[in-house]
């Protein structure tokens, strides 16, 4: 397990960034409005910006320490970076781009992603001979991700990597990034504006507002604590688990919330670990006895943990089901009708077809 610890103070014009955080293996998503300092924070960790004060370390390696004057140059930090616009080298083929960092490695890290593995997982084998200028946005970002991974980084930074990707390909690449984050097992800092990407990827969320970290923690914690996330459209949580075949076009995923039936496995990957996105608007609540005679296949015993008002006269309910967090959005009227209070035992009802893997 690696640990990135950063304490960064820097001033750019009238803007002051003062952020302190740590990130373990897995994806730490940094969200915040434009101009909140997300990119500056990332660039300071990368080594492209030198903070005025603070300290940045990865395990026992000091990247930056204002007190001792240490500032390790960017090229010696072994930090992989996926930029918003890909930044592939236009004069090199896709293959040469992929191998750019790999060729400059002195030693291989045990368990690193090989060229063949990266090409297969990212689905870029047909592109190897092409030039970057001929690639689509999604293809470009997959190559950029492969290029960063093949340099065997100890830390991976991604600055809105899906911003230049067509909307219909974003989910696909986001779940690819999630799968890779489990494979490479290093700390990943991921900047985004999108709640969807946050929900699909985050193991930890940092909310940056006006150059300060205003909330940090697990997705459900941060949603309840930060108005910025709470008001985002499409609120959802991610449940991770193992596939277990169920037959008849249905499959179940064994999650910490209990087994969840999904109507169909996406394109054959019905084995190993997967991540399900459960939208708060798809979770129906029932009180009293377990509901009977429903068409919905998933009925999970849960407890309402916290409730908070959100726009459009609705209430966001945070639930605990088994070992997992769930969210549900219901109306004020329903809350009153059910007499719902924090601590109440409820049943969370979810249609199999509403859950996307």
């Amino acid at each position: 397990m690696s640990c990135l610890e950063a304490q960064v103070s820097l001033k750019r014009g009238g803007f002051q960034l003062d952020a302190e955080f740590s990130a373990l293996n897995g994806v730490t998503v940094v969200v915040g409005p434009s101009g909140s300092g997300k990119t500056s924070l990332l660039r300071a960790v990368l080594g492209a910006l030198r903070p005025e004060a603070g300290r940045i370390t990865l395990d026992d390696q000091v990247f930056f320490d204002a007190k001792t004057g240490v500032h390790v140059p960017l090229e010696q930090r072994r930090i992989g970076m996926v930029f918003q616009e890909g930044r592939l080298f236009p004069h090199l083929s896709v293959r040469e781009n992929l191998l750019f960092g790999a060729k400059r490695l002195l030693v291989d890290t045990p368990g690193h992603v090989s060229f063949d593995e990266a090409v297969t997982v990212l689905g870029i084998a047909p592109l190897l001979a092409r030039r970057p200028a001929t690639l689509s946005g999604g293809e470009r970002q997959r190559v950029a991700l492969g290029r960063a991974l093949l340099a065997q980084p100890r830390l991976l930074l991604m600055d809105e990597p899906l911003a230049s990707v067509d909307a219909e390909r974003r989910d696909e690449i986001a779940s690819l990034i999630w799968r890779l984050s489990r494979r490479i097992d290093i700390p990943i800092l991921y900047i985004t504006h999108s709640f969807e990407e946050t929900a699909r990827l985050a193991d930890q969320v940092l909310v940056l507002t006006d150059g300060r970290i205003s909330a940090a923690g697990g997705l459900a914690d941060v949603i309840m604590a930060s108005p910025l996330l709470r008001h985002a459209p499409g609120l959802a949580v991610r449940l991770e688990g193992e596939w277990s075949a169920e037959g008849q076009g249905e499959a179940a995923v064994l999650t910490p919330a209990g087994p969840i039936i999904v109507s169909q496995a996406p394109s054959g990957v019905a084995e190993g670990r997967t991540a399900l996105l459960v939208r708060a608007s798809d979770v129906v609540l029932a009180v009293g006895a377990p509901p009977q005679g429903l068409s919905a296949r998933n009925i999970l015993a849960a407890r309402a943990v916290a409730m908070t008002a959100i726009p459009a006269d609705q209430v966001l309910v945070r639930l605990r089901a088994g070992e997992a967090d769930l969210l549900s959005i219901i109306s004020h009227t329903s809350v009153a009708r059910l007499g719902l209070k924090p601590g109440a035992a409820v049943y969370a009802v979810i249609k199999a077809s509403a859950i996307s893997a």
Binding site: P73, R87, F89, R104
Partner: protein, 250 residues
Amino acid sequence: MPRPRRPLRLLSPEPRLSLQSTFLPSPAELVALRVSLTVAVRALAFTLPLAVAVAYGLTRRRFPGRLLLDLVSQAPLALPPVVVGFALLLLFGAHGVLGAPLARLGVRLAFTATGASIASGVMAFPAMVRQLRLAFEAVDPRLDEAAASLGARPWDRLVSVTLPLAGPGVIAAALTGFAMAMGEFGAVITFAADIPGETETLPLAIYATLQTPGGEAEALRLSIMSLVVAGTALVAAEAVMRRLRQRIAP
């Protein structure tokens, strides 16, 4: 009866002979061409790397004395070439600041072919730096950052990213430098004098023939040679630039 030393051209029965003698260069004229090419190639050999370094430094780096370097590199553009030649004499002449110690080592630059290369190289330098700066400015500096994040050190990044991407611009700058070195007159004649076979380049030879009565035909042949060299260089450079541009952005 002794034969006349030269056949009388006007009485020659063969019109083709006359055409040949008008348009085919004489051995002495070919020597001027050879001198010009040698001087220009050697001028380019030492100026181009220096111009690349200065242009790269001025575009991508911040360092003390940057403005001074900028001004010094532009100076030959604003000065009369004769003044540049004279300045070179003051520096590298037999009694010059650098010339005297060099002379003790047995190195003489003034009034030599090397001197002609230096004079024409110095005159070509500012235009090359200008063109190279444009070429480097056109390369996205963010690619440099991407290369650094992949472990490439500064020199590596210059050689494997910035220079290849600036390729067409570097070719254009080399062509400009070559053409300017081929054509330099004032600085060369002041610093290296007009020594046939050594420092007499095409422009110097053209000037010399024009000082001789009836030298127009020879001057014309020399001028045509200059034109052919410049034309060939332009076409070759254009072909190379096209190929490079295609490689960068198909």
